[in-house]
């Protein structure tokens, strides 16, 4: 039997708005515990929520970028469940009328395709529990500490249709979504800090036509690698179970990164009853077409479009993808250099190759923290084109520019790296070399071509590496055949 995995992803994206979703507290949760809090996000008696308009702008940006329709009158519902770090013991979320519905995201990678987006809804984040004593889990803890700084931070949940069929696809979707969110500038989009969190719903069935199997929700993946590993593991676990005529239990499982396995949690008895009902503290929102078109008009170029544009400029597709996926400064550097006349293919080559390598070597996270600008790169490439810099000299110039020593020309001059590509000047040096090595020269004239290399080496030595070796070789060859 050929088993088929069916995967859907739920992605929580924390918005980087100034203030929280329903109150004026700063939406920063790395501050001292319980300092960015007020009666509203602490759920004190009598406090009332007021929606953050900027958060609505941002969810609309996400929804429109995901080709969704915008709901004219979205409604906030209360999702009721008791949890110590949920201060009202209900979360303000959305139910049947989310802000965005029915979109898709084109995903590349080894198995490209279109992933359906069911809905994109707005909600508020919970506080954070830290369980003290024991192994950090709530069971066995001596006591728990609660920090409500994160409580009420705006959260957007993006729910796919069950369109994904492999762990690699799931990863590719996750990566593309992260790029999209970054490009939209709506979130810090840092997985390791939890500003993007993935939950995967995984089931396995006996073939593409078979009815859907029992689904298992997996949580706690905080990198793309762990997303892919967790889904791979879960598909394997379920396939194994089903092959042994066992049954998959509907449950939520947690990915254990160290063990490389998902671990069972509490079994879900049917679907939880959250007793959703419209939050009477909030009036229905009205998103008119003018608001929607204003947001649509403000959307930046999205990653897919950018990749296509780069490819049309002649950039190799892999490099185009690297530029779009890399830290945002790289693509900016590339674009600026090209605008100043650099060849797109060569510029892409340098940015994704030498520049990335140099930054890594210097342990620098973003090119924007360095002295390397688009104009410095364009100048560098121009000097290479003009034969003024050798490959190694160009790398040295790059290092100097990154270190903030100045523009490419300036660094090359200061470090004395400009090649002698002046024919007359080189010819003089060559005459000196030939005079010093008459024996080798006559053997060259006699047909021993490999001696060109030796003589070029002597030229390089006399010029302390600054001669253009290609030009020197050509001049020596010309001189030897001239007789």
């Amino acid at each position: 039997m050929s088993w088929e995995a069916v995967i859907g992803l739920e992605t929580h994206v924390e918005l980087s708005t100034e203030s929280k979703m329903f109150c004026g507290c700063p939406a920063r949760f790395e501050s001292e515990p319980n300092t960015n809090v007020c009666p509203v996000c602490l759920g004190l008696p009598g406090a009332l929520p007021v929606p953050n308009r900027e958060a609505i702008n941002r969810i609309m940006r996400i929804g429109l970028a995901l080709n969704c329709s915008i709901t004219r009158q979205p409604v906030f519902h209360r999702k009721n469940y008791f949890y110590a770090d949920l201060p009202k013991n209900y979360q303000i979320s959305q139910f049947d009328l989310p802000v965005c519905v029915d979109g898709f995201l084109e995903v590349g990678g080894t198995d490209p395709g279109r992933v359906g987006i069911e809905r994109v809804h707005q909600e508020e984040d919970t506080g954070k529990s830290t369980h003290m004593g024991g192994d950090g889990r709530i069971s066995g803890a001596e006591y728990s500490l609660l920090d409500f700084n994160r409580s009420g931070v705006p959260l957007v949940e993006i729910v796919t249709r069950p369109d994904l069929r492999s762990a690699a696809q799931a990863r590719a979707y996750g990566q593309e979504l992260k790029l999209l969110v970054e490009a939209l500038g709506v979130s810090d989009a840092r997985l390791e800090e939890g500003s993007i969190r993935f939950d995967a719903n995984v089931s396995v069935r006996s073939g593409p036509e078979a009815p859907l199997g029992t689904k298992v929700e997996i949580k706690n993946m905080n990198s793309f690698r762990s997303l892919e590993r967790a889904v791979t593991y879960e598909i394997g676990r379920q396939t194994h179970l089903l092959s042994q005529e066992g049954t998959v239990v509907m449950e939520t499982r947690h990915w254990d990164e160290e063990a490389g396995a998902t671990r069972g949690g509490r079994v879900k008895e049917g679907s939880s009853d959250y007793r959703y009902f419209p939050d009477p503290d909030l009036v229905p929102m009205e998103i008119d077409p003018a608001w929607e078109s204003h947001i649509r008009a403000s959307l930046p170029e999205l990653p897919a479009a950018r990749r296509t544009r780069y490819e049309q400029m002649g950039v190799d597709p892999t490099m185009a993808a690297t530029l779009v996926a890399g830290e945002s400064g790289l693509a900016g550097l590339f674009e600026e250099a090209v605008n100043l006349g650099a060849g797109p293919s060569q510029a892409a080559n340098w940015v994704t190759g030498e520049v990335v390598a140099a930054l890594r070597k210097a342990s620098i996270n973003s090119v924007t923290e360095t002295g390397l600008t688009g104009s410095a790169l364009a100048e560098l490439l121009e000097m290479i084109g003009q034969g003024k810099l050798s490959g190694s000299a160009a790398r040295e110039v790059l290092t100097g520019v990154i270190a903030g020593e100045g523009g490419s020309g300036q660094v090359a001059a200061a470090r004395d790296l400009i090649q002698i590509s002046d024919t007359e000047m080189l010819a003089e040096v060559i005459e000196e070399v030939l005079a010093a090595h008459p024996d080798e020269f006559s053997r060259l004239q006699g047909g021993e071509q490999k001696l060109v290399g030796f003589l070029v080496g002597q030229v390089m030595r006399r010029t302390r590496g600054k001669a253009d070796p290609k030009l020197a070789g050509a001049l020596i060859a010309e001189r030897s055949s001239a007789r």
Binding site: L44, L48, A84, Y90, D273, P280
Partner: protein
């Protein structure tokens, strides 16, 4: 020495014929005399009141006048949060809870110069019609201490009626201002939903709750509402626009006013004969004063009661979820977090609150949601349509406020459904979000006050007050509770 109305006191303070300290002492004297019998207050802020009064007198002396309520003592229902002043909502689960912030209405009162006398008793979380559901013991009716003051704002109504405060604020979810005002013989107003900020009102049923004044006179209610009623950016459901000043039409009489009497409200089955007689006498008096009266049909009234008792519990089941022992209030420890929460709630909530939370949780549950909560919302629409139809024929609607006068303590505590019937005439205004007022119009055969309700369309407070003040004048009812300094209040059956 009788307690002046707010309007009289405000004038006398500015004339210098009385002082704020004098007013405060008068109020504290009354409290000393009768509070032991009534238990209208959960907290009396004697020090705050006296300090505030001294400040107010100082301000008057220096010619500073920060607002119309400068130096006037006001009592607050204990479900309004007050900074640094214990706020319990009448519940054990909030016993000892001291809020870090003032409700918007409290802020506005303070900004207008009002002094806070204290926090008044209520049915736990405003759930009840007699103030017997308070975790801290019932309040008694100043007209007869064997009787309930009504509820849930029974403490504010009793405090104002007994002269322990010049005015008070209550909250009205299904009649919780108007019904106790009726039973205590004072004026009580539930404004249009959204015109008074709910920020800082400990929520019972968010889509129905509304804060309003309880006073001796209609003019006092107007004054208080002018102070507390304004758009509030902290309440999303607050009405954001300017409205006609609520007192704009006071004194214009009844000439040409079309008064609708709903057959379902006026002569409803459970209405006591004395209440019915007084009500129709007033309707006739209104006709003589120039109003035209007509009978209107409100067919959905009875379904309204059922809908109310689904919507309010459903909302309260979520609103009261936050009381879990984690961050504030009562905590009863357990072996797990769930057990701690569950024990805290079981021990912290009284039987009526527990009943409604369970009812609401059930009504919202999967599989029952549509049959209960969904249907109830549809009935709410029917009520609105009923009223809209009625208001095409008439300007205001009138009814008795409560089918009965004050009943005896304990009479209805074993029969929740009979208790729920107390609200049948007041609930339609909450379901529709419309304004309504109680005006005392007389006494029944037991010398217990009878209340008259004036209802108006949304945002028509000015019209409602025009009619209410005409009714007040026609009734000529003396709201002063018979009070003998040597014997205190009357007890027992007369």
């Amino acid at each position: 020495m009788s307690i002046p109305s707010i309007v009289e006191a405000a004038r006398a303070l500015r004339e210098g014929s009385i002082t704020s300290v004098g007013l405060a002492r008068q109020v504290l004297y009354r409290i000393a005399m009768v509070e032991a019998q009534l238990h209208a207050f959960l907290t009396v802020d004697t020090d705050g009141l006296m300090a505030g009064a001294e400040e107010a007198d100082q301000a008057f002396a220096e010619g500073r006048d920060i607002g119309p309520l400068q130096g006037i003592p006001i009592a607050l229902k204990d479900n309004l949060t007050t900074r640094n002043l214990e706020t319990t909502a009448g519940s054990k689960i909030l016993s000892g809870y001291v809020p870090p912030y003032d409700a918007t209405v409290v802020k506005r009162l303070r900004q207008a110069g009002a002094l806070i006398v204290g926090k008044t008793n209520l049915d736990e979380f405003a759930m009840g019609s007699s103030t017997e559901n308070s975790a801290f013991g019932p309040t008694r009716n100043p007209w007869n201490t064997d009787r309930v003051p009504g509820g849930s704002s029974g403490g504010s109504a009793a405090a104002v009626a007994a002269g322990m405060s010049l005015g008070g604020l209550g909250s009205d979810t299904g009649g919780s201002i108007r019904q106790p005002a009726s039973l205590c013989g004072v004026v009580g107003v539930k404004p249009t939903y959204g015109t008074v900020s709910r920020y800082g009102l400990i929520a019972f049923a968010s889509s129905l709750d509304q804060i309003g004044p309880i006073t001796h006179t209609v003019a006092d209610a107007v004054l208080l509402l002018e102070v507390i009623g304004a758009p509030d950016p902290l309440d999303s459901t607050s009405y954001p626009h300017e409205m006609e000043p609520v007192g704009a039409r006071l004194g214009r009489g009844l000439e040409g006013i079309r008064v609708g009497v709903a057959s379902q409200l006026g002569g409803a089955e459970a209405v006591e004969p004395d209440v019915e007689a007084a009500f129709f006498q007033m309707v006739s008096a209104m006709e003589r004063a120039g109003a035209t009266t007509l009978e209107v049909d409100l067919p959905s009234t009875e379904q309204g009661l059922s809908a109310y008792y689904l919507i309010a519990p459903a909302e309260c089941s979520a609103n009261l979820a936050r009381f879990d022992g984690v961050r504030y209030g009562l905590r009863v420890n357990g072996d797990t977090t769930e057990q701690m929460m569950s024990r805290s709630r079981a021990d912290g909530f009284g039987p009526e609150v527990t009943r409604r939370v369970l009812l609401g949780t059930f009504a919202l549950s999967a599989g029952y949601h549509e049959a209960f909560y969904g249907q109830a919302q549809k009935v709410r629409t029917l009520i609105r349509e009923d009223l809209a139809r009625a208001y095409r024929q008439c300007d205001v609607l009138v009814s008795p406020t409560s089918p009965t006068t004050a009943f005896r303590l304990g009479d209805r505590t074993d029969n929740p459904l009979a208790m729920y019937m107390s609200d049948v005439l007041t609930i339609p205004s909450n379901l529709a979000g419309h304004p309504a007022a109680n005006i005392p119009i007389g006494l029944d055969r037991h010398d217990l006050p009878i209340g008259f309700q004036v209802m108006a369309p949304a945002l028509e407070e000015a019209l409602m007050f025009q009619v209410a003040s005409a009714v007040e004048e026609l009734a000529g009812f003396d709201t002063t509770v018979p009070f003998d300094p040597s014997h205190g209040l009357r007890g027992g059956v007369r």
